[in-house]
Amino acid sequence: MHAVEQHIHTLPTRGSTFTVFAVLAGLALLALFIGFSDLGPLKVVASLGCASVQAGVLAYFFMDLKQSDKLTWLCVASALFFTGLQFLFTLTDYLTRHLGVL
């Protein structure tokens, strides 16, 4: 049997599903709290940090990354990696143009 065939998923319990939902709802409230606060330049950092944690919890539990095989993790890693490259090359291009003109 190949590794992928041995990778049987067991479904989470209802209790754990509701717990994860409660965590996500709490993080959403935190995101709104950050959004309604006056944190200056830190606000966007804190907001995106909170959103990243929310996305991580959603992916790990609800999207079942917790039990996923290495190929799925490779998909996630490649998505993040290539998005990172997308941001890196675009920003290094655009943010080094029009210096002093805008």
Partner: protein, 276 residues
């Protein structure tokens, strides 16, 4: 009952793994798709931070806040649907799929209402020339003080935005000093295109959910091993939820807002009074 395994798979576990991988590969392309939009947004927000702050201040954060929780609840119900299918609970599966569909539809309904409010306030970028009655009155008062201004404003959006922000209870910026109205159009272009793309994905998701409800009714999911198709649908739905988690702080919370303002805006949106 286990369910049929297609001939080109060794066993059910391999078939299920392939189904999941297919959806994950599609989601990788979706990350890159939305990533492009977020990347462009990042560039312009770094270039014009104050203008993006002003644009965000003009949005209805009340509706956005409620929509966040509607989507989260729909992620919960679709996750519960997976378990219902696994346990061969057809009624539970139908109920959870229906709940997910209803929550998603409520999201779209509130989104449509939000777009309508934005249109009524004249916050549509471009040269469409729709000047709201309030903005027209404010412009005429300005023209009475400064007769050198043209009879009709050059760009209706600029005047509509100036009126909307001047009447915000939270945003205190001044046009020309803190923001340039014509630059705020860039923000609104991103707002409509990014939320519009998200809406498009929601509509596709709702269509798929309805299809899965039809399949449930026909007994397709009576084979408990087919829960993997509900799980695959849930992957897509959770991804759409994930995109919203980033849209909320970048579009709606970039500018100053308060919880009181959010509640008032939501009440106003659903016709229970309140203000901007």
């Amino acid at each position: 009952m286990v369910g049929p395994v297609a001939h080109h798979f060794n066993n059910m576990a391999q078939q299920q793994a392939s189904v999941r991988l297919g959806m994950w590969l599609f989601l990788v392309t979706e990350v890159l798709f939305f990533g492009g939009a977020f990347c462009a947004y990042t560039v312009y927000r770094i270039w014009f931070p104050k203008d993006f702050e002003a644009g965000s201040a003009a949005l209805n954060v009340g509706i956005a806040s409620v929509n966040t929780f509607l989507l989260l609840a729909s992620s919960l119900t679709i996750t519960l649907a997976i378990r219902s299918c696994y346990e061969s609970d057809r009624k539970g599966l139908m109920r959870n799929l229906l709940l997910t569909t209803v929550l998603g539809t409520l999201f779209l309904g509130l989104k449509a209402r939000e777009y309508h409010i934005d249109y009524q306030e004249g916050l549509v970028p471009g040269v469409f020339g729709y000047l709201t009655p309030h903005a027209k009155e404010a412009y005429e008062k300005e023209r009475a003080v400064n007769p050198t201004l043209p009879e009709t404003p050059e760009n209706a959006f600029n005047e509509n935005l100036k009126y909307a922000l001047s009447h915000s209870k939270v945003y205190k910026g001044k046009p020309g000093e803190d923001y340039e109205p014509y630059r705020v159009q860039l923000f609104f272009m991103f707002y409509y295109s990014m939320t519009g793309l998200h809406v498009l994905h929601m509509v596709v998701g709702l269509g798929l959910l309805v299809w899965q409800m039809v399949l449930t009714a026909t007994g397709f999911f009576d084979y408990s091993a087919r829960y993997v198709y509900i799980e695959t649908m849930s992957l897509y739905w959770h991804f759409v939820d994930m995109v919203w988690m980033f849209l909320l702080p970048l579009l709606y919370l970039a500018g100053p807002h308060t919880a009181t303002q959010a509640m008032e805006q939501f009440q106003m949106a659903i016709g229970l009074g309140g203000g901007h």
